[in-house]
């Protein structure tokens, strides 16, 4: 019987993030810079939400359940790991992606476009030269994210082709077949998710306003 593994907030976060990263790439490539900035702000809200949910969310959403040391990774590679949610190896990829996207959004906040028409919400806090340099690194950093995405997709294909495990479907339905004796996900509370989202929206609004003194 299929058991719950991913809660709705985690799934929504995952697919919205994927869609917004694609949209961010497209919008800046085709000169829709203001859409690009809004997309970055939306990703910021998602990241803040996910960070908080990583402490107070369902069992498989919590960092404490999947961020582990190298010992756990070695055990996993030797086939000694049983559990639900992110595997110790997959967790490294999740953490790397979350960090890389956070760095990217952080830089975007301080960047300005080459013509001086568009500015990230915090660009006015730094000099124009700094802002231009940040934009250049922001553009290059995309390749770091792209590399991690490629790795992520290749890993999913590997599990599908060589291990007979379908990983995409559980990220849509939230349920998967677990090996016997494995504890399924303990869900979080819906109102806690709403509070996390509200905090994410609040902080994003404050940043869009240029981070004025409180």
């Amino acid at each position: 019987m299929k058991q719950p593994v991913w809660d709705l907030p985690v799934r929504l976060f995952h697919w919205l993030l994927a869609a917004l990263i694609a949209f961010s790439w497209w919008s800046v490539k085709y000169d829709h810079t203001s859409w690009h900035i809004w997309s970055g702000c939306a990703i910021l809200t998602l990241l803040i939400f996910r960070f908080l949910w990583g402490f107070v969310g369902s069992s498989t959403a919590r960092f404490s359940s999947f961020v582990r040391g190298p010992g756990a990774v070695v055990d996993y590679l030797r086939g000694k790991w049983t559990g639900s949610g992110h595997t110790p190896l997959g967790a490294l990829s999740v953490v790397a992606l979350l960090l890389a996207v956070s760095v990217q959004v952080g830089m975007g906040l301080f960047a300005e476009d080459e013509d001086g028409i568009y500015m990230g919400p915090l660009a006015r806090l730094v000099s124009s030269d700094t802002s231009d340099k940040v934009r250049d690194i922001h553009a290059l950093w995309f390749y770091v994210i792209l590399g991690l995405i490629v790795l992520h997709v290749l890993a999913i294909l590997y599990y599908r082709l060589f291990r007979g495990q379908k990983l995409t479907k559980p990220m849509i339905t939230g349920r998967a077949e677990l090996s016997p004796g494995t504890a399924p996900m303990r869900p979080g509370k819906w109102w806690v998710a709403v509070v996390c989202l509200a905090i994410g929206l609040g902080i994003t609004r404050w940043i869009i306003a240029g981070a004025p003194p409180l």
Binding site: D31, E112, E114, D115, G116, I117, M119, R124, S128, S131, D132, G210
Partner: protein
């Protein structure tokens, strides 16, 4: 500024292209400083005036910075061949930009920063509306 009746020699062309690059980069820098000057509390009126003056004087030079024979076939430039294929449209866009830049500079001279803020959007639009058809992507 070199004014030319006939097509420029390669050296002349490259020289104009260099002037053009510097002028456009200067415009971008002025735009960026303008933003910061307007956003400061209180607005930095002197800086705003310096930037709008730079923008107006550079805008006036644009038609002479794009003579025929200074396109991508001559040297590294983001100027698209369409500039010379659709010369009347290009000249109209540069005229629109000049009008927007002059209006902005006039507002800055009166010291009315709210007006500068409002007119600033017309300048943004004029930049974009010419870059979209006539400037190639950065890389």
């Amino acid at each position: 500024m070199v004014m030319l009746a006939a097509a420029p020699s390669k050296d002349q062309a490259l020289q104009i292209m260099k002037q053009r690059h510097d002028a456009m980069e200067g415009l971008g820098k002025a735009m960026k400083q303008l933003h910061r000057g307007l956003d400061a509390t209180p607005p930095d009126v002197n800086s705003v005036r310096t930037q709008t003056a730079t923008m107006a004087s550079t805008a006036a030079k644009i038609p002479s910075l794009f003579p025929a024979g200074t396109g991508p076939d001559v040297g590294k430039t983001r100027a698209k061949p369409e500039i010379w294929k659709q010369q009347p449209l290009f000249l109209k866009k540069s005229k629109d930009f000049l009008a927007a830049a002059l209006a902005l500079d006039a507002a800055a001279k009166t010291g009315d920063m709210n007006k500068v803020m409002a007119l600033h959007e017309d300048v943004d639009k004029a930049c974009k509306s010419c870059h979209d058809p006539f400037r190639a992507p950065e890389h």
